[in-house]
Amino acid sequence: MKTSTLFIRTPEGIVFSQLLAGPVTRFFAWFIDQLCIGAAMSLLGSLLDLLGMVSLNFAVALNVIAYFIVGIGYGIFFEWTWRGQTVGKKLFRLRVVDVDGMRLQFNQIVVRNLLRFVDELPVFYFVGGLTCWLNSKCQRLGDIAANTIVIRAPRIAEPDLDQLLAGKFNSLRQFPHLAARLRQNVSPMEANTALQALLRRNEFDPVARVELFGELAAHFRGKVEFPAEAMDGVADEQFVRNVVDVIYRTHAENAAGKAAVTAVEAWPAGV
């Protein structure tokens, strides 16, 4: 079955996923690489033209060899030195990796690049594209032979939920028993939908954003009925934010509450 994600299970029983790159993105990356090869060739050609003033025969020979080496060696060189990336792949955030998640070997890079000769038959990577389209892991023939896959490698930074959740007054927390019921009633999928909406809130069109948070707020209001003082003056988006805060920050709140109690108990009487 064709899928966009490859799951790898480690011997420790941990499963991690790799997002597979599709043929269209790969084609664009290849196109950029062709432009880079063309640019490199044109630069080299100009330099070799200078050599032609000494010996035209030698300059033409070097040109022929350089074109051949750059054409074949470009992919091998960059994928090896940039750990599975070429200029085009870097631009489209793609990376060649081992199909089992192992370290990419030089042999694998050589084989996958040499098999381009059959993948590019008869024109414009028809064989490779067709194989990629039909293959469950989106591999062209070179990838199959070399045991490699091309994955999407988005820039991943350390997660930071602080900006999203912390430091805001949450009117729902004034009613801990209702907050607990909300946590009980909300499924992980619903919680994730709300969280994703908040994480991507700035990407939405303003009207769509209002509509989306209106629908989400209506949905979560139906889960638990909070008293009017908890809801007064709270916009839909703020309500969803409060819901997410309640769901994802249970223990932190408890810990903070306990700390506050401890602090009050420790305070000398009559001061």
């Binding site: 480690t10 025969n57 074949i72 998640g101 994703q196």
Partner: protein, 338 residues
């Protein structure tokens, strides 16, 4: 249960950051060999992060943190579980005189098959020309081969001017690149379960057989040997080795007689394919030089005997190289069982 993300991240972050820093160092310095203490720490951090990922996947559907942890685990997994050599350093001398001939000998049966297919093509081409000389344009669609051999030899031997003068290096470069492309294609077509490779080898054999019979039939055997041997004794084996690599790939795809998975079979031969095609490249560079600078010059410029002798010397050296180079002469150390 939904995990307390903030606490989870706050607790796990120092370990993840440390693992990320170690991975960045390993990736930037591939030759780095960590001391035992650091290795143990690296393994612990990997296990801790993997456990965090498992916990997060089970109790929360928060994608950002999961993706971050997956990325860390994936990178660390590749470093920890990889058992193959890192292959960062290449030793050309050792590769050429040991790895290449050893790899060739390890898969010599595929080479014999490659030779047999080419010989079958030779026999077909030779017989076709012998029985029907008019089939020449079909069998050898190259203008320079269509000429009557006797006429060509007479012209070559009378030629006062060097027709390659001023173009020898260019001609040599074109030969090298063209032959290397054909060789790589012969290897790559192994992905068609060997059908493409067999066709390429057979077709090469057909042309070789047809040309040979054409010249021999015209009484120009000496010219033929003088013309083909200096470069052909290297170029033809190079194509045969490319065929050997293509057939090796095909055997791995078909997987007859083995229970290993396709992935394992292909993984086992990928290094050998790269080695064989690398060797083919080196051989074709040599053959390109010889073809441009020696093979195209005939008697009286260079006597045929000299060219044929040169070809024989090359052939013997190539045979010795492929058969003997890198062979371990010392008897294997006895094992405890013995």
């Amino acid at each position: 249960m939904i995990i307390d993300l903030q606490k989870f991240i706050a607790t796990g972050r120092p370990f993840w950051t440390e693992l990320e820093a170690m991975l960045a160092r390993l990736e930037a310095e591939p030759d780095l060999r960590m001391p035992l203490g650091q290795l143990q720490l690296f393994h612990q951090l990997y296990e801790r992060t993997a456990a965090d990922l498992a916990k997060l996947t089970t109790f929360s559907s928060e994608p950002e943190t999961r993706r971050y942890l997956e990325n860390l685990v994936a990178r660390a997994y590749g470093e920890i579980h990889e058992t193959r050599d890192k292959q960062r350093r290449i030793f050309p001398w050792k590769w050429f005189f040991q790895t290449l001939p050893q790899t060739f000998r390890r898969h010599v049966r595929a080479f014999y098959l490659s030779v047999a297919i080419t010989l079958a093509g030779c026999a077909f081409g030779g017989l076709a020309i012998a029985f029907d000389p008019d089939a020449k344009p079909v069998l050898m669609p190259f203008s320079h081969l269509l000429q009557d051999p006797r006429k060509r030899v007479a012209e070559e031997e009378k030629a006062a001017n060097d027709r390659l003068a001023g173009h020898k290096t260019e001609f040599s470069a074109e030969l090298m690149t063209h032959n290397t492309k054909v060789s790589i294609l012969t290897l790559a077509l192994g992905m068609t379960w060997g059908v493409g490779t067999i066709i390429m080898l057979f077709y090469n054999g057909v042309i070789l057989g047809a040309v040979s019979v054409d010249y021999i039939h015209s009484g120009e055997t000496k010219f033929l040997m003088g013309w083909l041997m200096p470069h052909g004794v290297i170029e033809i084996p190079a194509i045969l080795i490319a065929g050997q690599a293509g057939l090796l790939l095909a055997f791995a795809l078909i997987g007859r007689g083995t229970r290993a998975s396709l992935k394992t079979r292909l993984r086992e031969i990928s290094g050998d394919l790269a080695t064989l095609i690398g060797g083919v490249g080196v051989m074709l560079v040599w053959a390109g030089f010889i073809e441009a600078f020696l093979s195209q010059y005939h008697q009286p410029v260079i006597p045929y005997e000299v060219k044929i002798a040169f070809g024989f010397v090359e052939l013997i050296l190539l045979f010795l190289f492929l058969a003997k180079s890198g062979a371990n002469k010392k008897p294997a150390a006895k094992t405890l069982d013995e």
